[in-house]
Amino acid sequence: MPLAPVDETVAIGDLVRDPYPIYRRMRAETPVVRVPAVKRTFLTKAAYTKMVKDDVVLFSSNDPTTPMEPAFRAHTLMRKDGEEHRRERMAMQKAFTPKVIKTNWAQLYRDITDRYLDRLPRGETVDLYSAICAPVSARILTHILGLDGASDEEMMRWSQQLIDGAGNFAWDPKLFEITDRANEEMDLHIAACAERLRADPDDSALSLMVNAADPIPWSQIVANIKIAIGGGINEPRDAMATILYGLLTNPDQLEEVRRQEAWAAAFEEGIRWVAPIQASSRLVMEDTVIGGIDIPKGDIVMSIQASANRDEDLFHEGEDFRVFRDKNPHQSFGTGPHHCAGAHIARRTVGEIMMPELFERFPDMRLPDPEAIVWHGFGFRGPLSMPVTLN
C-alpha cells in the first residue's frame, strides 16, 4: 500500500480561519493525508475517525508529544486507556447523569439562566457570547463540579488557560508559566472545596470523588476537576453561540424549531455543523492500513471530527445548517471510550434549558450583521462574538 500523500499547501493559519473548504477538498481527493504544518496525518472521513477512536489498542490516547501534561501538571485520564481510564472516569461520571441533572439541578440551572437573562437590556445590541453563553456555562459548571466560591471570571480564565496550555504545541515556556499560576490557584480552591464537601457532601463531581468508598488518588481527583474545567465551559459556550447563529440566520428553521419545540434537534445540528472540539490526536501503536494507505507505527493520526460531521457519505448538504435532518450521526462528542463525559449535561443544559429560555425571553431577537461574525479555531472552534439585538 502507498504511504499517505503529503499536503504542503495547508498552513495552520488557514485551518484556524476556515478549515471547512480544506476538509471538503481532502475528503474528495486525499481523505488520509500527511499535513507537515501540523505534523500529523489527517483523517477526514467519518468511517476512519470512528474506527480510530473505537480502537484504543491500535490507536492510543497517550500521545507523549502533546503539551497536556505540563499544562495540567498531571497525567490526566484524557491520555489514558483501559482500566485506569475507566476507573478515573467512572469516579465522577455519576455527577453527570441525566437523572442527577433532572432531579437535583434542573431548577437551579433554570434559575441561573434566568438571573443572567434578567440583567440584559431590551432594545439594545448585546454580545450574547460574553453576556450569556460563557458566564452561564461557567456558573452551571461551578455547581456541577462542586467548586462554589469560584467566580465566573476565574472559571473562564482557568478554562481558557488550560486549553491554551494544552494547545501549546510550540512549547512556549511563557504559556506554561501562565498555566503554572492557574494550576496553583485551582489546586488551592479545589482543596478548600474538598474539605467543605467531606463535611457536607452533595451530588457534585468533587463530592462524589472525595467521599467515594474507594477513592481514586488525590492527584487524579484534581486532574479530573481540571479536565472538566477545561472541557466544560468553552464547549457549551461555543455550541450555544453556534446554534444561535444557525437559528438566527435561518428564520424559517427557527420558526419550525419553536413550533415543534425541537431544541434538542437544534442542539445536535449546531454541534454537528461546527463541532466545538474539531480534532483529536491518537498515537499509532502498530503498522496498519487506513483507507488503503499504509500508516506506520509511531505516526500520529488526527481524527478530524469537524470533517467527519460533514462527510458526504453520511450527510446530505452537510455544509449547511439544517435542523430537520432525518439522521444526525455526528461525532462531536467523539466515540469510543473517550466519548465526552459531559455529553448528557451539554444536551440538558444548553439544549433543554439555555436555548429555549433565551428564545422565550427574547422571541424577536435578531442578528444585525451575520457577515461580521468572526469564526476562529482549528482544534477548538466557534464564533468570537455574537452581537444580537434584543427586543
Binding site: 441525566p98 471510550p337 466519548h339
Partner: protein
C-alpha cells in the same frame, strides 16, 4: 443469521437479521433502527444504547457485565431489572428470535 426484534416505545416492531458475533446495538445501527444511538461505539461509556430485554429472553441474554450497572445509572430513561446496554448483548445462535424493548429517550 439471528433474528432480532426491536419494539419501540410507541409499540412499533422492527425485525432484522444479524450475523452471529455482532451485538444488539450494532445490529440496530446497521439496520437504521431508531431508538438506539450507541454514541460511544460499544465502549460502555455513554448509556445511549439502553434497552429492556423481553421477559422471555432474560435468561438467554444472561446477567449484566462488569461495569454495566454503573453505566446504566447514566441512562436517560428509567432503569428496570431487565435493563441492559445493548452493546453488551452479543448475538449467538441461541438468541435467534430475541426481542428487546426500547426506552422513550436515550440522550
Amino acid at each position: 443469521m439471528v433474528k432480532v426484534t426491536y419494539v419501540a416505545a410507541d409499540g412499533t416492531r422492527t425485525e432484522v437479521d444479524a450475523p452471529p458475533g455482532s451485538n444488539v446495538m450494532q445490529t440496530a445501527l446497521d439496520n437504521d433502527v431508531d431508538g438506539i444511538v450507541g454514541e460511544c461505539g460499544g465502549a460502555m461509556m455513554c448509556a445511549t444504547c439502553h434497552c429492556y430485554v423481553d421477559e422471555d429472553w432474560s435468561d438467554a441474554t444472561g446477567a449484566r457485565r462488569d461495569g454495566e450497572d454503573d453505566m446504566l445509572d447514566c441512562a436517560a430513561d428509567e432503569v428496570r431489572p431487565n435493563s441492559r446496554l445493548s452493546c453488551q448483548i452479543r448475538l449467538t445462535e441461541g438468541l435467534d428470535g430475541l426481542v428487546v424493548h426500547l426506552p422513550e429517550e436515550q440522550v
